[in-house]
């Protein structure tokens, strides 16, 4: 899987669906373009089958229902299930010479890697890809919304300056730390660390952390433990803290970030087109509209990945955080991560 730089070389799929869009908004020479309004999109007509990975809450369902209501001549069949299971089903169906899904919306980009590696993902047109922020442009899938790894900390016990900006230094910080090693997003974070820092350094980091960290079943549990002052800080996706503060404005927790390492990894939900034709591509365009991206940002605290839509309240702009450059599809390689975590005794 290559990013935008390779797209320029490949110049793949540039014309699909583009003729229906305003010329002023089409990509020029690989530059980014602003997200479109739904009013600028063609109506959807026909029938598609979407495989939808189980995700956070039910807000993806709200989006899908809204798209169908807006397009009375469009019928969307949805098969729901765990993301990894659906990815395996798509590969198995392809192996049997079948294609039941036209689209696959996965909550974790890693699962898309499986589809992509099997050559089942269609290339996306440039004008669609260029609506995404430049670090989220991929040739054959579209990240939809993101989530960032954060360090929630108790604001009564310490300040952000007290927290290392290097994730590798955190075990030696002298702070009490909460983590949820069984949680899928944490394991993706460890996978990113493996890719960025190597197996040995990651194994040593896990061992040190295993000695100082307190384990929780999930990352909301981590954030709540931080807020209670049970631990000074923790590891968690950003939205738990934002949602806790939304429901409890005086919560004594805030977010800190590491700098350009796995500690501030941005992972994303993503969609891939599996069948030919303009309809699947145009469906993806709806997910990247200003309206859908704003809805998911305000209602689910997810991070918009298109150009020109503000992040959820309480989260800094991604450009100020400097997340690491990791090919998200490589996060599917979980087995070595789980082996490593078991070897050092944290799982």
């Amino acid at each position: 899987m290559q990013r935008r730089s390779l797209l320029k070389v490949l110049a793949a799929g540039g014309s699909l669906g583009s003729s229906l869009l305003p010329a002023s908004l089409l990509a020029q020479d690989g530059e980014g373009t602003q997200a479109l309004s739904v009013d600028e999109l063609p109506a959807l007509e026909g029938e598609l089958t979407l495989y939808l990975g189980r995700g956070e809450g039910g807000l993806y369902e709200n989006v899908l229902e809204a798209i169908q209501q807006r397009n009375p001549d469009f019928e969307l069949n949805i098969r729901r299930g765990p993301t990894a299971s659906l990815a395996n089903a798509i590969v198995a169906e392809a192996g049997a010479g079948l294609r039941r899904a036209d689209l696959f919306w996965a909550v974790d980009t890693g699962a898309i890697g499986l589809i992509s590696n099997e050559g089942l993902a269609r290339d996306l047109p440039d004008d669609l890809v260029n609506q995404l922020q430049d670090t989220f442009r991929y040739q054959n899938f579209a990240p939809v919304t993101g989530r960032i790894r954060t360090l929630p900390y108790n604001t009564e016990r310490l300040t952000a300056e007290r927290i290392p900006t290097d994730v590798m230094a955190i075990p030696d910080s002298g702070l009490s730390i909460g983590w949820a090693p069984a949680y899928a997003s944490f394991q993706s974070f460890v996978t990113a660390m493996r890719l960025l820092e190597g197996e040995q350094a990651t194994g040593e980091w896990l061992q040190k952390m295993g000695r100082v960290a307190k384990s929780y079943a999930g990352e909301l549990g981590v954030v709540m433990a931080v807020e209670r002052g049970e631990v000074d800080m923790g590891f968690a996706n950003h939205y738990y803290t934002l949602r806790l503060k939304s429901g409890k404005p005086d919560a004594t927790v805030d977010l800190a970030f590491t700098n350009n390492d796995a500690g501030c990894l941005v992972n994303a939900s993503a969609i891939v087109a599996l069948s030919e034709g303009e309809l699947p591509i145009n469906f993806i365009r709806y997910l990247l509209t200003r309206e859908v991206q704003s809805f998911l940002a305000t209602e689910a605290y997810e991070i918009p990945l298109v150009n020109g839509v503000a992040p959820p309240q309480g989260l800094p702009d991604l450009s100020t955080v400097s997340p690491p450059d990791v090919n998200l599809t490589r996060l599917a390689d979980l087995r070595p991560t789980l082996d490593l975590m078991r070897d050092v005794g944290v799982l």
Binding site: V38, R54, G55, E56, G57, G58, E61, N62, V63, A66, I67, R70, R80, G81, P82, A182, Y183, Y216, A217, G218, L220, G221, M224, Y239, Y240, R243, L244, S246, G247, K248, A251, E291, V292, F295, T298, E299, A300, Y301
Partner: protein, 265 residues
């Protein structure tokens, strides 16, 4: 239990869209559970057969004591009937009571209890069988009217539906514990937390952070400990009932929040 009460409870249970798909203790669910109406006579005959078999076992105990009895047979007969899957896929709370009753009779005999105590356990078990048959009959009515999805359709499509499903999965925890499968019961608790509750607690924490914290403790401490410490089935059921009450509160909160949510376009 009165029939109307049973009807309401079964309606709640089957409309939750929770239907077991995993392999069961006595093997996979048969296709018969997707056509309950056509098999009601069979289930009724099986209940009568079960009651006869239990009577024979208890009668043997009354006449000749433990040496004249095979108490394990009480559980074996339950494994042999299709009614087992019919009740397991439709009304898990009664399913748990049946297991509780089966082990009640078996343990009373194995413990060489007075015949009056064994007979009391037998009566309790028979009541569970009849309750179960009533629940299946109600479920069959709804299924015949096309109001219940087949067992394959299991994925909830909203946080409210997910909470309903979580409540049903907790019933299954009690059932598996009553079935003397504590490890499987704990496994369901953790799976439910990680694959279901984690997905809705983000929505819920915006509405009531304390409620989420309570449920977090229930999922990760109170319920697993009740199971692992060898509590009685009633004690485990009590923890689950308390959790289901909190889940009902959560469901109301999320329904209100959804009603006030902004539209996408």
């Amino acid at each position: 239990m009165k029939f109307d009460t049973m009807k309401a409870l079964v309606l709640t249970a089957i409309f939750s869209l929770f239907m077991a798909t995993a392999a069961q203790a006595n093997g996979p669910i048969g296709d018969h559970v997707n056509d309950l109406q056509a098999h009601l006579d069979e289930y009724s005959e099986e209940v009568l057969w079960l009651i006869e078999q239990v009577e024979e076992i208890v009668g043997n105990y009354e006449r000749g004591g433990l040496a004249n009895t095979n108490p394990e047979r009480v559980v074996e007969i339950w494994e042999e009937v299709n009614f087992h899957a019919a009740i397991e896929t439709n009304y898990v709370p009664v399913y748990a009571s049946i297991w509780q009753g089966l082990f009640g009779v078996r343990q009373a005999i194995e413990g060489e209890q007075p015949i009056a105590d064994v007979r009391a356990a037998q009566v309790s078990l028979e009541q569970s069988f009849w309750q179960g048959l009533g629940a299946v009959k109600v479920a069959a009515q709804f299924q015949a009217r096309g109001l219940v999805a087949n067992i394959e359709d299991t994925e909830p499509t909203s946080p409210v539906e997910t909470l309903t499903q979580i409540g049903q999965l907790l019933d299954r925890v009690v059932a598996k514990y009553a079935e003397r499968l504590p490890e499987e019961a704990v496994s369901i608790v953790y799976d439910t937390y990680l694959s279901r509750f984690e997905g809705v607690e983000g929505d819920l924490i915006e509405q009531d952070a304390d409620l989420v914290e309570d449920l977090e403790i229930d999922f990760n401490v109170n319920l697993p400990q009740a199971i692992e410490n060898g509590s009685t089935v009633e004690q485990v059921r009590s923890v689950v009932n308390a959790m289901q009450s909190k889940l009902n509160r959560a469901r109301n909160l999320l329904e209100e929040a959804e009603a006030n949510r902004s539209s996408v376009f």
